[in-house]
C-alpha cells in the first residue's frame, strides 16, 4: 500500500455494532484488516456469547455494553470512542457480513476529496444486491416517508453502511438506541444541513443474516418512532 493510503487508513475508523456474532465477527474483522484498515472498534451490545473475546482476538478494539441497548446505542458508543481517538472519518459497518470491506473506499473517497461530509450507502442505486420484493417495497416506502418528513430524497432509506466526516458527526445529535437510529441520522443530516451523497453498495443477504436481521414488519416500529420524534423534538 502506498504511504498516502496508509496515512488515510490511519484516520479511518470502522465502527461495528455486534450482538451474538461470535461466528461471523472474525471473518468480518479479517476482511477489514485485509483492506488495510487499522482502526476497528467492535461494540459488543451485551452479547450472550463470546463475541467480545473473539473480536479482541481478531485484533479489534472492543467496547462492551454491560446490558443490551440496541444497535443505535452501540454505534454511538463506537463513534464516541473513535472521535475520542482522533478519527477523521467514521464508517459504520455490519457485523453479520452483509457489507463488503472493499466497498468502504467508495464511501470514503468522496469525503476525502471534500465532495461531501457524509456518504450514504444505497443498495438500489446500482442493482448489485438480491433484495426480496417485500423488503424492497418497505424500503422504497420508507424512502418516500423520509422525503416527506425530512425533505431528503434517497433511494435507500435504511442502510447501515455509511461514512461520516469527523466535523459532521460532531454536529449530529444522535439519541436513538434501537433500529430507528438509521432514520434519526438522516433526520439529523437534514436538520444540520450536512452535505451528503448516496453511494451504490452491495448488500449480501445470506440465510444467516436474514435469519438474524430485521423482519420487514419492523419498519412499522421505526415509522412510529419517526412520527413520535417529529412531534416531540
Amino acid at each position: 500500500m502506498t504511504m498516502q493510503a496508509e496515512q488515510k487508513n490511519k484516520d479511518i475508523w470502522i465502527v461495528i455494532a455486534a450482538y451474538n456474532e461470535e461466528n461471523r465477527i472474525t471473518q468480518v474483522i479479517a476482511s477489514l484488516k485485509e483492506q488495510g484498515y487499522q482502526n476497528i472498534v467492535v461494540v459488543d451490545d451485551g452479547s450472550k456469547d463470546k463475541t467480545a473475546a473473539v473480536a479482541e482476538q481478531a485484533g479489534a478494539a472492543v467496547l462492551q455494553h454491560v446490558i443490551n441497548r440496541g444497535q443505535g446505542a452501540s454505534l454511538k458508543t463506537g463513534m464516541d470512542f473513535a472521535l475520542q481517538n482522533n478519527a477523521e472519518i467514521i464508517v459504520t459497518f455490519d457485523a453479520d457480513g452483509q457489507h463488503q470491506a472493499n466497498e468502504i473506499v467508495l464511501l470514503t473517497k468522496p469525503i476525502i476529496n471534500g465532495e461531501v461530509e457524509a456518504s450514504l450507502g444505497s443498495r438500489f442505486l446500482e442493482k448489485k444486491s438480491n433484495v426480496s420484493w417485500h423488503r424492497e417495497l418497505i424500503l422504497k416506502g420508507g424512502a418516500g416517508i423520509i422525503w416527506l418528513f425530512y425533505g431528503i430524497k434517497l433511494t435507500d432509506s435504511h442502510n447501515g453502511f455509511r461514512a461520516l466526516k469527523r466535523d459532521a458527526l460532531q454536529k449530529l445529535e444522535l439519541k436513538a438506541d434501537r433500529m430507528e437510529h438509521a432514520s434519526e441520522i438522516l433526520e439529523q443530516i437534514a436538520a444540520k444541513q450536512i452535505k451528503y451523497k448516496e453511494i451504490p453498495v452491495t448488500i449480501t443477504y445470506t440465510d444467516y443474516s436474514l435469519q438474524k436481521g430485521q423482519s420487514s414488519l419492523a419498519a412499522f416500529g421505526i415509522l412510529w418512532n419517526m412520527i413520535k420524534n417529529k412531534v416531540l423534538r
Partner: protein, 141 residues
C-alpha cells in the same frame, strides 16, 4: 342532603376513611414528608370525597350541566382521562430512564476500554524497563 339515617354503608365508610386520610396527611406535613402545596392538594381531594359522600347528587347535577348520561358516567370519563394522563407521565419517565441507562452503559464501556489500554501500556513499560535493567546487569558483568 342525606341524613345519617339514609346514608349507605359505602358513603359512611367513605367519610370515615377520608377523615383518617386527612389526619395522615396532616401528620406527614408536620414531620416534613409533605410540602404545603401537596397537603393542600390532598385536603382538596379528601374534602371532595366527603362532599360527594354527603351530597351524592352533585354528580347528577354535574352530569346534567355537562350533558352526560348519568352521574356515575362523569366519574368514569374523568377517571379514564386521569388514567391516560398518568399513563402518559409514566411513559415519558420510562423513556427517560432508558436513555439514562444507555448513557451509563456507554460510559462504563468506554471507561473500561480506556482502562484496559492504560493497563496494557503500563505492563508494556514494566517489561521494557525490566529488559533494560537485565541488559545493564549483563553488561556490567
Amino acid at each position: 342532603m342525606v341524613t345519617f339515617a339514609d346514608m349507605g354503608l359505602l358513603q359512611l365508610f367513605g367519610i370515615i376513611f377520608s377523615f383518617f386520610a386527612l389526619s395522615r396527611a396532616f401528620l406527614r406535613y408536620k414531620d416534613k414528608s409533605l410540602h404545603l402545596n401537596e397537603l393542600f392538594l390532598w385536603i382538596v381531594v379528601w374534602v371532595g370525597v366527603i362532599c360527594v359522600a354527603i351530597f351524592p347528587s352533585i354528580f347528577v347535577t354535574l352530569s346534567k350541566i355537562l350533558g352526560i348520561g348519568r352521574g356515575v358516567d362523569i366519574l368514569l370519563y374523568g377517571g379514564m382521562i386521569l388514567l391516560f394522563y398518568l399513563l402518559f407521565r409514566v411513559y415519558v419517565k420510562v423513556e427517560a430512564q432508558q436513555k439514562d441507562m444507555t448513557t451509563l452503559v456507554r460510559e462504563i464501556a468506554i471507561k473500561n476500554a480506556v482502562q484496559k489500554t492504560a493497563n496494557a501500556k503500563t505492563k508494556d513499560n514494566e517489561k521494557k524497563s525490566a529488559k533494560s535493567r537485565d541488559k545493564e546487569e549483563f553488561e556490567e558483568q
